[in-house]
Symmetry: C2
Subunit: 462 residues, 2 copies
């Protein structure tokens, strides 16, 4: 009896180590392919330098749909198609202008309208300013903000090593600041840019007036961090200074746009779908090379590598390039809606929307069993310096997806530089390093492969 057990154990351990070494070999191949023959950087160069900014509803967004569809087609996938989705169409109009009016001294400061904001009057808006550190402080001021511009100036906390934590703790000012200030009778809001550096770039981003009526909408803009520091310092010496800003943005009727989708059909359980994706749209101030051109081309590179190696996935691997993540999330929502109609079963979704920096690991949404499973891959990733496998937000485009059992993950790149570029005019091609981008793609391909091979853990029946 003992002998039999031992023999079985040996055979099993032999098999395990064979499988392990096979995984090691394949993952090594993914990284090699990414670092030596990747198309990710070339694709990104085209998206950034030949097309450029790709705000939803714009002509450039449509060019990006056409380009990525044709590139996916050239890879020889089993299916490539477009999925219709109606998206908002907000336009910035003329370049904004803003001044601090301190007695006779008039100082220009860099601002940009927040996405979805209304325009000021054509002659601009001038008012006194009240500085607050956030929505809670605003609420305490009550009537005092009536007729004034509210200046939200809570900086991102530099102490967090993971910069997305600091972003999450600040971004309510940008997203809901105007809505809350309007309720109290403010005439406009200015928000400190979500940026850990002190520089002259204003950073745009989504904001929402929520359930206000259109008559209640007030114009809202982001100010550069240097501009915010100057405004705050000047307010201290002259609390009754005035601030002027002018913007001519507007929201046009919704536009027909598309998610771009490609598939490697599963060979064992094709009904089980694994999604890998990023978002095609970007803000309008620059090319969105980090946000999220990087995620788009990394997702395309995942299927390029697998197809190129003639990998036959057990499950269907589907690359989805989502439209309208930035100002509406309509692409992600539409994808889920259609998926539900078709009664599709997603077992895994992987998103890359945190920039194309050196990959550090994954931010995972999973139950204990699947988290442990992914953490069990740690040794396989160690040679590539990928080390962090923790519970956290996986991504906003895949946040809609629900299935009987689904594991979600977000690629987690080094985050120190992300907010230097995020939604600002410097998010350009030269902000992305080729090797860092490629390493991210290989890291994504490796996780897709490992979960395709081993499947996810199903919840236990009660």
């Amino acid at each position: 009896m003992k002998k039999t057990i031992l023999l079985t154990a040996l055979v099993l351990s032999g098999l395990t180590s064979f499988a392990q070494s096979n995984d090691e070999k394949n993952i090594k191949l993914f990284y090699k392919k990414a670092l030596t023959e990747s198309k990710a950087y070339t694709w990104l160069e085209y998206l950034s330098n030949d097309i450029g900014a790709r705000l939803s509803g714009s002509q450039n967004a449509q060019l990006a749909v056409n380009y990525t569809k044709s590139q996916l087609e050239s890879l020889g996938l089993d299916k490539v198609y477009l999925q219709e989705v109606m998206v908002p169409h907000w336009v910035r109009g003329e370049k904004e202008s803003a001044f601090i009016l301190n007695g006779k001294v008039k100082t220009a400061v860099p601002i940009c309208a927040l996405g979805g904001s209304v325009a000021t009057a054509k002659t601009g808006l001038t008012a006194e300013v009240i500085e607050v550190q956030g929505i809670k402080e605003l609420a305490e001021l009550g009537d005092k903000v009536k007729g004034k511009i509210v200046f939200f100036n809570r900086p991102m906390n530099p102490e967090n090593v993971e910069t997305f934590i600091s972003y999450g703790a600040c971004v309510d000012q940008r997203f809901a600041g105007a809505k809350e200030a309007a309720k109290l009778g403010a005439v406009g809001t200015i928000v400190r840019s979500m940026n850990l550096r002190l520089d002259d770039f204003p950073h745009t981003g989504a904001q929402s007036y929520g359930d206000l009526t259109k008559e209640q909408y007030i114009p809202t803009a982001a100010i550069s961090t240097n501009g915010a520091e100057l405004l705050s310092a000047t307010l201290k010496s002259n609390p009754s200074l005035k601030f002027y800003f002018k913007q001519s943005c507007e929201t046009l009727p919704d536009v027909l746009s598309y998610n771009v989708i490609g598939e490697l059909t599963g060979t064992v359980t094709p009904e089980n779908i694994m999604v890998v994706g990023g978002h095609l749209d970007s803000w309008d101030l620059a090319d969105g090379s980090q946000d999220d051109g990087a995620g788009v081309v990394q997702s395309m590179e995942v299927v390029r590598i697998l197809k190129n190696l003639n990998y036959k996935p057990k499950n269907t691997i589907r690359v989805v390039l989502f439209m309208n993540e930035e100002n509406g999330g309509k692409g992600g929502a539409k994808y889920e809606e259609v998926s539900k109609q078709k009664n599709e079963n997603h077992i895994f979704a992987l998103e890359s929307d945190s920039g194309g920096f050196s990959p550090r690991g994954f931010s995972i949404e999973a139950d204990d069993a699947n988290l442990k499973k992914i953490q069990g891959f740690r040794d396989l990733f160690e040679p590539y310096l990928v080390h962090s496998f923790t519970i956290g937000h996986a991504g906003s485009d895949i946040s809609h997806l629900t299935s009987k059992a689904i594991v979600k993950a977000g690629l987690k790149p080094d985050s120190q530089r992300y907010f230097d570029y995020h939604h600002a005019a410097n998010d350009k091609f030269d902000a992305v390093n080729k090797r860092e981008l490629e390493l991210g793609a290989a890291t994504m391909a490796s996780l897709v492969y490992l979960l395709d091979q081993t499947g996810i853990e199903m919840p236990k029946a009660n």
Copy 2:
């Protein structure tokens, strides 16, 4: 008996967890201080933008000595002093020029003389070119290189995730290529820049003629990677093309220079010294912000943080800013020479000379016991995404140091972008991210603190 053991175990585990939590608290404080009030970035800005390139023997190198000494003095350390060292004084002279002469077509390519090279004739040097992939292939060619320019064109291997491995596998072409080619009668050498990207920056670096006589010296230069690709492609279509280059560099008499040293004197065993350092000199083509302004200001920041927290080290903590790492290593050698004369005992040396990128861990030279000890700190570093503690080269300035028992470590930052800048004209202040630099300094301070608190493991007596 059992009860007693249990009680002791509880007490011990209580103590351990108290000590652990104290370390956790202190390390958190180091990172907080680095991320919120560091002087590292301000110091680097001065070194890069106010002083600039700091090649050994130059006036700028002396300005950097003066500046860092005065800054260390302002920190209130127990001692700050200079250590004399004679250093080589090589100067580049006029900007180099080079052309591919392909029949009637003359194409300019970017080159720069390698450090220590001799000049060409004033009218330049023109000769046919033989391309080789390295010194081994050169040796096989023998007499065929006589009268020719040898073109070393082995690229850095993109497959290695750790880019220093690829550098190590290529740099012999640069360091010894001219010497070996001269022995075979070549008239000059051109070396592909040590750069993983394709771009237009030539990357300089040290080279040595070894034991050749001065009459045998031949001029040697680096060519940009794009230039190397062009030269190689053109050679394929026309093997008898000629190459022209002109450079007017020369080696002047040695100059008196200095290592800059500051100390926090130990309060328990001051005779045991822990060194933390980087090198003050840089190449002459740019400001050396990554190589090694970053390491200099991080080392200074380590002692700033400890002093600012009023930390009383058990051992003497000594910051050493070495002179002449780039083209001679005289500062490191002198430091060891003096240390030996004084019969000093070093227990630890930490060098930062791999750039100011996000810290990933340490490259460690230690016996098994001390390696395990450092790896035992892993959990303390995890919140800061510092995860790699492996055996490897610690640093060239501390490579000379020997003691009865010494542990050496090199800060290991993310290495993907390092060779984009290394020894090239783009190694400037804007290549360094403030937060990445600061995180590196905090990581260094944490390891110095942990080893100061716990000591190193002594070799067992036989």
